[in-house]
C-alpha cells in the first residue's frame, strides 16, 4: 500500500482544477461552489470530508431548520430554562440547587443494519449528550417501533434491539424507567429506535461546549479512533490509495463499549467537580469533525490540532478518516494548560485514555496539521453554523381528504355482550397492547436505588435528592397512526399524552424534548407532514406553557418510496416535590372507588380497535383540548400532594377497556364496573377520546375528590369499586372476565410470537 502525496492546503492551492468527488459525498454543485468560495480555493480532501459531513442533513438540519425555528419563537419564557435548543441537551432548573437535562435521539438506520449494536450505540450516544452538559446520567428510556410482530424480520430486529438497549444501559448502570413498543407494517423495513437519557447536576456545574481561552489545551478522552462509521467518506479512499483496500474494512457499523462509557461518565464528573475543564463536547455523529468545529465556533474562534496525536485503533488511517470516524465513547475537553497534568492523571486513574491533541487559538481558523503539514484551514463557523438552509417544497398528501372521510366510526362493531367480551380479550392480546415485560425484564430498573416508578407505569419517576425527596417524572409517547391521519393533531396528541402520563403520577410537567421520525424531506408530502407536526408541537407547548428544550430530527425513514407514518415522539419532563407522594398504577384496596375523569365521545378513527380488529386506518383522530389537559394536571398534582388518590392510570391506546385490563393485571385485584346510565358499552370501552384518566379514590375521599374536579370544571364519572376478593373484570349487566383469562390473553404474547 503506497500512499500518494498528502492533500495539503498547499497542494490544494497548487492544483485548483483537481476533480473532487463532492457529488459522491452528497454535496450539491452549489454547495461545492460555496465551499470554494469560503476557502478561496478548492478544499483539501480532509476539508471536503468535513464539509460533506457537517453539511449533511443529519448534522446541518438543512431541511428542518426553517421549521424548527418555531420552537424558539413560540417557546414560553420560563426562568427554569438554563440551556435550550442548540445545546447538547436542554437543561431545566428543578429547585435552587438542582437542574435536570434530558433529550431523546434516534438511531433508526443503524439498528436495522445491526440491531444489537445499532441500538446499543444509540443509547451510548444520548448518554454522552447528557454528560456534556455537566450532568450525571441517571436513567434511560426507549421508544421502539417495529414491523408486524409476526413478520420473520421482526424476530431478527426486535430481540437484537432490545438486547442492545438493555446491554448498554445495564452495563453503564442506568435504570430504564419506561418507553414504548409499537408494531405497524410501515416500520417493516425501517424500525425506529429512539433513546432518551436524563441526567441531574448541581446548577453551578452546568458545562459549555466553548473552546475559549487562547492557549487552552484540547484533550481527547476515551476510546481509540478506528474506522467506525466512516462509510460515507470512504469514496475519498480511492483517491489516496494506489492499491485498493478491502472495502469490507470500512464498516458503517459501530460497536459500543459501555464499560468505557461508564469510565467516561465517572472521569468527566470528577473533572467537572474539580473545576478542571473550560469546555466539553461529546463525539457523536461526525466524530472529531463535529466536535472540533462546534467547540471552536462556540469559543474564541480558533483552534489548532495535531491530528497525528489522535490515538488510533486501525492502521493506515488517512486524515479524513480520522476526522470522520464515528468511533464511540469519546469526548473532547478544553483544559487550561496548568490543569492538563491533573486531567491526564485523573483519566489515567480511571483507566481512560486522554491525549492532548491541540490548543485554542485566536486566529479565527480551525487548522488541522498532520505530521506538520496543514490539511485543514477553515473558518469553523462555516462548518458548524453556516451550513446550507433549504426551503423545501411542501404539499399535502393527495390521499388525505379521502382518508379523512373513511371514518372508523362506520366500521362494524361487536354487537352482543359476548362479542364485546371477546374484543376486550383480543385487543389485550394484540401486539400493541399486550404485556411488554418480555422486553422490560431485560432492562435493569432499580440500579441507583432511586427508581420510584418504572415500567409498567404511565411515566417513570426518579428521586433526585434523598433529603428533600424532590424527583422527576418522564414519559415518552408517540402515535404514528394519528399523525398519518393528521400530522398537526397527531403530534399534539403525542404531546398531550406524554404530558398527561407525567401528570398522572402527580408530577407537574415542565419541559419537552422530541424526536421527529419522518420519511424523505425531498418528498413534498413528507415535508408537509413535517411542517404540520412541528407547528402542532410548537403551538401545543405554547398553550401548555412548557418549552421544547431540544430534540432530534430523523429523515429518510423509508423503504423505497414508501415513507413510514410520520412519527413524532414526545418526551415530557415533570417535577414532583416529594416522590413519596407519587400516584402509582393499580387499584388501592377493596372498596375504593374507581372513577373516570374526562369525557368519552365516539372517537374511533385511528384507534387501536380499528387497527387491531379491522386493519383500518382512516378518519380524523381524536380532538385535543390543552386547557382541559392543564386543568387535569393541576388536579392530579393537587390530589397527589394531599394523598387523596390511591392510584391513577392514563386512558390511551385501547381506551377504558385496556386501562382496566392493565390495572387488574398489575394489582392482581378485581374491578366491579357499572357503566353510566345510557352509555353504549362498546364506545365507552374502546373509544380513544383524550384527556381521560382512570382514578382510584380511597374510601372517605370521594366527596373531596369530586369537589376538586367540579372546582376545575372537570367531569368525573364514578365507574365502580375495587374488589380484591373477586378477581377480574366484572362489567355489571354485560359480562365477566376472570383474571386468569385476562392474563392468559395479555401476557406472554411477545415471547410466543418470537418462538420462545
Amino acid at each position: 500500500m503506497t500512499r500518494q502525496l498528502l492533500d495539503t492546503v498547499g497542494v490544494a492551492d497548487a492544483t485548483p482544477d483537481e476533480k473532487q468527488p463532492y457529488a459522491e459525498l452528497g454535496l450539491a454543485d452549489d454547495e461545492y461552489a460555496r465551499i470554494r468560495d469560503i476557502l478561496g480555493r478548492r478544499p483539501t480532501q480532509a476539508e471536503l470530508a468535513m464539509y460533506s459531513i457537517m453539511w449533511s442533513e443529519h448534522c446541518s438540519y438543512k431541511s428542518s431548520k426553517v421549521h424548527l425555528r418555531q420552537f424558539g419563537q413560540k417557546n414560553p419564557k420560563t426562568p427554569r430554562l438554563l440551556a435550550g435548543i442548540g445545546e447538547n441537551a436542554g437543561v431545566v432548573a428543578i429547585d435552587e440547587h438542582l437542574a435536570v437535562t434530558f433529550k431523546v435521539e434516534s438511531h433508526n438506520h443503524p439498528s436495522f443494519v445491526e440491531p444489537k449494536q445499532g441500538a446499543a450505540t444509540g443509547v451510548g450516544g444520548i448518554i454522552r449528550d447528557i454528560i456534556a452538559m455537566g450532568a450525571r446520567p441517571i436513567a434511560v428510556m426507549d421508544s421502539l417501533r417495529f414491523g408486524e410482530l409476526s413478520h420473520p424480520d421482526t424476530a431478527r430486529v426486535l430481540p437484537g434491539v432490545v438486547e442492545g438497549v438493555g446491554h448498554y444501559g445495564n452495563c453503564v448502570g442506568l435504570p430504564n424507567i419506561g418507553g414504548e413498543t409499537l408494531f405497524d407494517p410501515c416500520y417493516q423495513g425501517n424500525p425506529l429506535v429512539n433513546a432518551l437519557s436524563v441526567g441531574v447536576l448541581p446548577r453551578e456545574r452546568l458545562q459549555s461546549m466553548q473552546a475559549s481561552g487562547v492557549g487552552n489545551v484540547v484533550i481527547l478522552l476515551g476510546a481509540k479512533t478506528g474506522r467506525d462509521g466512516i462509510g460515507g467518506v470512504s469514496v475519498l479512499a480511492s483517491a489516496t490509495f494506489t492499491e485498493d483496500d478491502d472495502s469490507d474494512s470500512r464498516p458503517s457499523v459501530q460497536v459500543g463499549d459501555p464499560f468505557t462509557e461508564k469510565l467516561l461518565i465517572e472521569a468527566c464528573l470528577e473533572l467537572f467537580d474539580a473545576g478542571l475543564v473550560v469546555g466539553i463536547q461529546d463525539l457523536g455523529g461526525a466524530g472529531l469533525t463535529c466536535a472540533l468545529s462546534e467547540t471552536a465556533a462556540a469559543g474564541d474562534g480558533g483552534m489548532h490540532v495535531a491530528l497525528e496525536r489522535v490515538p488510533l485503533r486501525a492502521e493506515g488511517m488517512e486524515p479524513h478518516d480520522i476526522l470522520a470516524s464515528e468511533s464511540q465513547e469519546r469526548m473532547l475537553a478544553i483544559v487550561a494548560p496548568a490543569n492538563v497534568e491533573q486531567v491526564l492523571a485523573r483519566a489515567r486513574r480511571w483507566g481512560l485514555l486522554a491525549t492532548a491533541i491541540g490548543e485554542v487559538t485566536d486566529t479565527g481558523r480551525l487548522v488541522v496539521d498532520y505530521h506538520g503539514q496543514t490539511v485543514v484551514d477553515v473558518p469553523p463557523a462555516s462548518l458548524a453554523d453556516e451550513g446550507p438552509v433549504y426551503h423545501r417544497p411542501l404539499s399535502e398528501p393527495n390521499d388525505l381528504a379521502l382518508i379523512a372521510v373513511d371514518r372508523a366510526e362506520t366500521l362494524p362493531r361487536p354487537a352482543t355482550d359476548e362479542e364485546i367480551r371477546r374484543t376486550v380479550l383480543d385487543m389485550a392480546a394484540s401486539p400493541n397492547l399486550c404485556d411488554k415485560s418480555w422486553i422490560t425484564e431485560q432492562y435493569d430498573s432499580s440500579v441507583f436505588g432511586n427508581t420510584v416508578l418504572g415500567t409498567p407505569h404511565d411515566a417513570g419517576v426518579v428521586r433526585l435528592d434523598e433529603r428533600t425527596g424532590v424527583g422527576i417524572a418522564i414519559s415518552l409517547d408517540g402515535n404514528g397512526r394519528y399523525a398519518r391521519l393528521d400530522p398537526y393533531t397527531g403530534a399534539q396528541l403525542a404531546l398531550a399524552e406524554a404530558y398527561r402520563n407525567v401528570a398522572v403520577t402527580g408530577a407537574t410537567p415542565i419541559a419537552v424534548t422530541d424526536c421527529l421520525n419522518f420519511g424523505s424531506p425531498e418528498d413534498p408530502h413528507v415535508m408537509w407532514q413535517f411542517e404540520r407536526a412541528v407547528t402542532g408541537i410548537a403551538d401545543g407547548c405554547q398553550k401548555l406553557g412548557i418549552p421544547v428544550t431540544g430534540g432530534n430530527v430523523s429523515f429518510y425513514n423509508q423503504t423505497g418510496r414508501e415513507a413510514i407514518h410520520p412519527t413524532p415522539v414526545i418526551g415530557v419532563l415533570g417535577v414532583i416535590d416529594d416522590v413519596s407522594r407519587r400516584i402509582p398504577l393499580g387499584f388501592g384496596q377493596t372498596g375504593d372507588t374507581i372513577a373516570m375523569i374526562g369525557t368519552t365521545g365516539e372517537e374511533l378513527s385511528g384507534s387501536e380497535w380499528a387497527w387491531a380488529t379491522h386493519r383500518h386506518l382512516g378518519g380524523v383522530p381524536p380532538k385535543v383540548d390543552f386547557d382541559h389537559e392543564m386543568k387535569l394536571a393541576d388536579l392530579l398534582s393537587r390530589l397527589a400532594g394531599t394523598e387523596q388518590l390511591a392510584a391513577a392510570h392514563d386512558l390511551s391506546e385501547g381506551g377504558l377497556a385496556q386501562a382496566l385490563v392493565e390495572a387488574i393485571c398489575h394489582s392482581e385485584m378485581g374491578a366491579n364496573i357499572l357503566l353510566p346510565e345510557g352509555a353504549d358499552p362498546f364506545t365507552y370501552l374502546f373509544s380513544e377520546s383524550t384527556g381521560r384518566v382512570l382514578i382510584v379514590i380511597p374510601r372517605g375521599q370521594e366527596l373531596a375528590v369530586r369537589g376538586a374536579c367540579e372546582q376545575r370544571g372537570l367531569p368525573i364519572t364514578p365507574l365502580g369499586v375495587v374488589d380484591a376478593s373477586t378477581d377480574g373484570l366484572h362489567l355489571r349487566d354485560h359480562f365477566d372476565i376472570g383474571r386468569a383469562e385476562l392474563e392468559g390473553a395479555w401476557k406472554g404474547r411477545i415471547a410466543a410470537h418470537l418462538g420462545e
Binding site: C171, F259, R349, S445, V452
Partner: protein, 231 residues
C-alpha cells in the same frame, strides 16, 4: 463507634453508591475502597457490590480478581473478616476462589430483571444471623450470568455444611439446586446473586428485607477486632 463497612469500587462497579446507602440505612458507616489500592482502611467488613467490573468481558468477575484490593480482601477473609459479594461481587468471590463453584450464563440466555423470592437457608453466617431460620425474603434479581454451578461433590458438601445460604423459590436462571447464595465454610464470606441493597426502602424496592444483611453483620462484629493488614 458504628461499624465501618468497606465498599469496593472496581472500574465498572455500578451498585457501590447503592451499597453505601444500604449500609447507612442499616446503621453502619460506609467506607469507599478503591480497586487499585491494597488498603482496607480499618473496616470491619467488606461489601463487593454489583455491576459490570471491567465490563464483565471474558467472564464476569474474572479480571477484577486480579485487582490490588482483592489481595488484601483475600487475606483479611482468611482471618475471619466478613465479606459479602452481591451479583458481580459474588462472581468476583467465585473467580477469586473465596467461594466454590462458578456463575454462568442464565439457562434461558437472557438478562432478566425480576424480584426473586428466596428462603434464608442458613442463619449461621456473618451476613444472615439476624434473619429467622427459613425466612422468606424478596430482593431484585437482575443478571445475565447468575446460574450457579459446581460439581455434585461440591454441591453435596455445601448442603451438608449448611453453606447454602439463600435458595430461590422460583429459580430465575437455572441455578443448580436453586442456589441463590452460598457461604464459605467459616461463614464469614457470603455471595448471592439478588440485590439486598436494592431492597432497603419501601419507596424504591420490592421489600425492605435487605436491611437484615447489614443488621446481621453488625450483630456479628466481634468487640474489637481489626482486619487490616498486619504492619
Amino acid at each position: 463507634m458504628s461499624a465501618r463497612i468497606g465498599i469496593v469500587t472496581f472500574p465498572g462497579s455500578l451498585d457501590d453508591r447503592d451499597a453505601a446507602r444500604a449500609v447507612r440505612l442499616g446503621g453502619a458507616e460506609p467506607v469507599a475502597l478503591w480497586h487499585d489500592d491494597a488498603v482496607l482502611k480499618s473496616v470491619d467488613a467488606v461489601f463487593l457490590p454489583g455491576g459490570f467490573s471491567y465490563g464483565d468481558y471474558l467472564r464476569c468477575g474474572a479480571i477484577a480478581r486480579f485487582s490490588e484490593v482483592m489481595g488484601v480482601v483475600r487475606e483479611a477473609a482468611s482471618r475471619g473478616m466478613p465479606v459479602l459479594g452481591v451479583c458481580n461481587g459474588f462472581q468476583v468471590l467465585c473467580e477469586s476462589h473465596l467461594l466454590p463453584g462458578a456463575l454462568v450464563r442464565n439457562a434461558h440466555l437472557r438478562y432478566r430483571n425480576r424480584p426473586a423470592r428466596m428462603r434464608v437457608e442458613s442463619v449461621d453466617t456473618a451476613w444472615t444471623n439476624e434473619y429467622a431460620p427459613g425466612a422468606e425474603v424478596v430482593f431484585p434479581a437482575k443478571h445475565g450470568e447468575g446460574r450457579y454451578v459446581a460439581d455434585e461433590a461440591t454441591l453435596d458438601r455445601l448442603e451438608a455444611n449448611g453453606q447454602v445460604v439463600f435458595r430461590y423459590l422460583d429459580n430465575p436462571n437455572g441455578a443448580m439446586r436453586d442456589i441463590a447464595g452460598i457461604a464459605n465454610e467459616a461463614g464469614n464470606v457470603v455471595g448471592l446473586m439478588p440485590h439486598p441493597e436494592h431492597a432497603v426502602e419501601a419507596l424504591t424496592g420490592p421489600s425492605t428485607d435487605g436491611l437484615g444483611i447489614v443488621a446481621s453483620v453488625l450483630a456479628a462484629r466481634p468487640a474489637s477486632r481489626t482486619f487490616d493488614q498486619p504492619v
